[in-house]
Symmetry: C2
Amino acid sequence: MSLPKRIWINEVSPRDGLQVWKEFVETKQKIKWIESLAAAGLSAIEATSFVNPKKIPQLADADTVMINLQALKLHLSALVPNQKGFERAIAGNCRAISIFTSPSNTFCQKNIGCNSADSLVRYASIIQQAKQKKLFVRGYLSCAWGCPFEGLIKTDDVVKIAFKLSELGCDEISLGDTTGQATPSSTQKLLMQIFKKLSSEQVALHFHDQYGRGLLNAYAAMQCGAWRFDSAVAGLGGCPTVPDAAGNVSTEDLVGLADEIGITTGINLAKLAKAGQEICDILGTNNQSRTGQTVLKLN
Amino acid sequence: MSLPKRIWINEVSPRDGLQVWKEFVETKQKIKWIESLAAAGLSAIEATSFVNPKKIPQLADADTVMINLQALKLHLSALVPNQKGFERAIAGNCRAISIFTSPSNTFCQKNIGCNSADSLVRYASIIQQAKQKKLFVRGYLSCAWGCPFEGLIKTDDVVKIAFKLSELGCDEISLGDTTGQATPSSTQKLLMQIFKKLSSEQVALHFHDQYGRGLLNAYAAMQCGAWRFDSAVAGLGGCPTVPDAAGNVSTEDLVGLADEIGITTGINLAKLAKAGQEICDILGTNNQSRTGQTVLKLN
């Protein structure tokens, strides 16, 4: 139960935040958004999603966004739901892709139009192509604690798919608490199973803050040796198929906690808070990060 | 590191929330507010403060509020900053009082007009009178982790005052994280010192959510055997002398977590969330409880 010396944070606001945003944000602003996050020290950013523009028009400019960010020296990834999306990612010089599945068949069907088992068949081919091109491949595993449509998800089912994604070639598995219902004990229970086969370098945690437990669960995960986390500035984020889904645990809260307890992040909290607020101003939304709000007031 | 089977929650929104509210809330609405919290199952509520009405006019009706709540069969307490306040509390048939001090001299001075040592002299007399009348006496110990004016506070200083308050006759000491800077490790470090002399029945934790760590710290405290917590519906609360102070950890988040991990609270979360929203509607403010917002959407 000792904490890591450093944590790696993958900022997901440009993808997770924008996929649920009703209005289209100008491409230039998206690029500025990501550049300001990079300037705050974030070394990993999920920039966009090569999803069907008819389904998520907010991200229709994924190709332009990705091409324009090439100069940034960081781990820049994009979500790729299918072969078509993969080909767009390749055309955009994307070096890291994220595929997406879930142990919940209903959730899979609603999001990618096939069930859980079929999604693995679909992705096997994409992962293989990506690895041939030496791309970094992340496998998202959504609803790892529970599903808004199917209820509680069995830990064994999550573990099986996580191991399968790894066998197929995923470099990293991101366990997503889409419903925000994880607790410290269920987080640690799942991770103890996961770490039987996967190393801490292969596992990220993606907590949504539906019940205010995102930071609590991240800390519980750290106590198990996890050090890779997804988060979003200002607590942005959501889920296209779950209208009431809350945002991700806020990057500011995560960095603030890490700073306070002596865990290195490489991120400048003051700059991060400023970037988070600028993004909220672009969107015209309230900043939902407690630490973000506080740091802005104190500086 | 085993969790308690039940936790006791002291709802502080009527005092902690209203003391920083700019507008005066009608007495009738304050009473309705407290009644709806009691109807949700809260068995302990800090109803008001017998503070100087010139300093905090929002609570000028403390006497009327207290008298009108006598029918409620619950642990109803009120803050008492001095002898005058104590006499008003007695006149209002108050059965439980809270006194208030801090290891920070500056914080004490700004709040109660004397330094830390003098506050203990002042309260020695009030506690004695209260115990003669068989009142329950809580001692608040604010800025137990840090002070907005004096910075970090030494754990030893906090522990000394906590023990002194107990020796003076306080039935319970509430350790207040006024600045919200506590972490799981600093919480556990402090509690391990505190529990050398005081039992878990004598200690409450009062976390503010300045950096989103309220729930995280409450959980860390539970792991040390603590089971008495202060919280406020909708994340209300603040501090009269610290303009940017955030609210308390929200009661909904605390109850939601307890429900999820099998800890008894005696509180009905759906009713609590509804009461929290009604209170926000009275104040015309946003509900800041993640769990509160979620429960309202799902029901």
